[in-house]
Subunit: 233 residues, 2 copies
DNA sequence: ATAATTTATATGTCTGCACATAATAAACTG
DNA sequence: CAGTTTATTATGTGCAGACATATAAATTAT
């Protein structure tokens, strides 16, 4: 017996969670439909719908029209990570931010990058390498390719004043993208850029963003040793 | 003029996105309130609410009662990662799964772990070390502490048959938790466990889960070289 | 028996209305 | 004038009813 009245969608969600956790509804089970739950809880179907949709979003329920709602067979936990602008991340921690441009050039990228960005053969794009620093210490090394044919405006930007990270976020809307997280062993190059020892374990983010006309940018961020990304679930 | 009718919340969301992307509504701007937008779009306020709430969830808008809705000053992108059960992750890739228990013992954990799990002084808890393998190759090394005082049932489980990862997910509901991602340089111990070279960059996940009575478990997962975690945004 | 079509049903979403809640702005008061 | 109270306002959420849509299941046609 809950004792508490079930009137708002949050309490419906909590009650459903309780039934899942108490194994009353086991993984794979079909649960009663919205109308039945609504009448049981004494609330509107819309309220039940809100609660169940929310649980489906977090991966605990699987819903299909006509087929009904069932408890997810293997609860895939979903963690939501915040990906801020690097400058904000650094100043947000109370450190002084500085961006150092290492190089820019317009060249034909390596095969794998050209393939990933779906470029035409021998298409030249912008390559920008830079370093974000916190309190003068290297924080993250940014190796970025920007498709200057899709984003012509990029040709007029002075990237010694503003990092491409920030310019892109503020000026180029994108429709889709992907992110990958991995780890890397510091080679001589990374060690020098991040002033760390070779062989250190480094956290790496690879990100690509797209708009309808094609790939906008693809970037690898290599973080200084000790970097960690944290979230609650 | 859009030309397309704005009747469902998705199209409202799209139109709002367009206005943000076209800089009609700039970062920091207060946008019209729900009632105004509803009358402009010719739909119900609830529909506008659904769209704006969704955009606020993804971090593009900031809403506060009475204060109104404004475009986020710095769009903090949110990436959602799926954290599956390790066995499912491995079999899902088509590999054969095997779990090898390395050791179990009930001991007083190191200071930092005791602090993180808020244990009483000299409180003994369960320490389980194991290895998940894909096609016979080491996939991830699991170093786990379980608070057997909060979860007494754990004392009767044979972890040579089932990994603690799986047993916990299936048997112990938890209310909250946190995850951190980082990178590590393989020392001699990690290298031997994962049969890789010392000095390799390894991807690491640290996770703790809690229920009302206290910390349930805290685990460090060290993945074999080459592991990456991927998501779309 | 198999394929195409229809039907039934659970979820998805819209509408219009109402009230709750939080937070700002305005009015008031000692 | 500072501190407190009150009104105002935008979002948050609830309700009942309706229709849309996907799709499993039943039915009919080939």
């Amino acid at each position: 017996m809950t004792g508490t009245a079930i009137k708002n969608w949050q309490s419906v969600q909590q009650e459903v969670l309780n039934r899942i956790n108490s194994k009353l509804w086991k993984p794979g089970d079909l649960i009663p439909n919205e109308a039945q739950l609504a009448s049981e809880f004494g609330c509107a179907r819309a309220t039940v719908n809100r609660a169940l949709q929310n649980l489906a979003d977090t991966g605990l329920l699987e819903r299909r029209r006509k087929a009904g709602t069932r408890v997810a067979t293997h609860p895939v936990r979903k963690a939501t990570l915040d990906i801020p602008i690097i400058r904000k991340e650094i100043t947000g921690k109370g450190y002084a931010y500085r961006y150092a441009l290492v190089s820019t050039e317009t060249v034909v990228p390596p095969r794998d990058m050209a393939a990933r960005m779906r470029l035409k053969p021998d298409e030249k794009i912008l390559h920008i390498v830079g370093l974000h620093m916190a309190n003068g210490e290297p924080y993250v090394f940014e190796n970025r390719w920007i498709n200057s044919n899709v984003v012509p405006a990029v040709r007029d930007v002075d990237f010694s004043k503003q990092s491409p990270n920030e310019w892109l976020v503020e000026n180029i809307p994108f429709t889709s993208g992907d992110i990958a997280f991995s780890a890397l062993c510091a080679g001589d190059f990374e060690a020098e850029m991040l002033s760390c020892k070779t062989g250190e374990g480094l956290f790496v983010i690879d990100r690509s963003t797209w708009k309808a006309e094609g790939a906008i940018t693809s970037v690898r961020l290599v973080f200084a040793p000790g970097y960690r990304i944290h979230t609650e679930i």
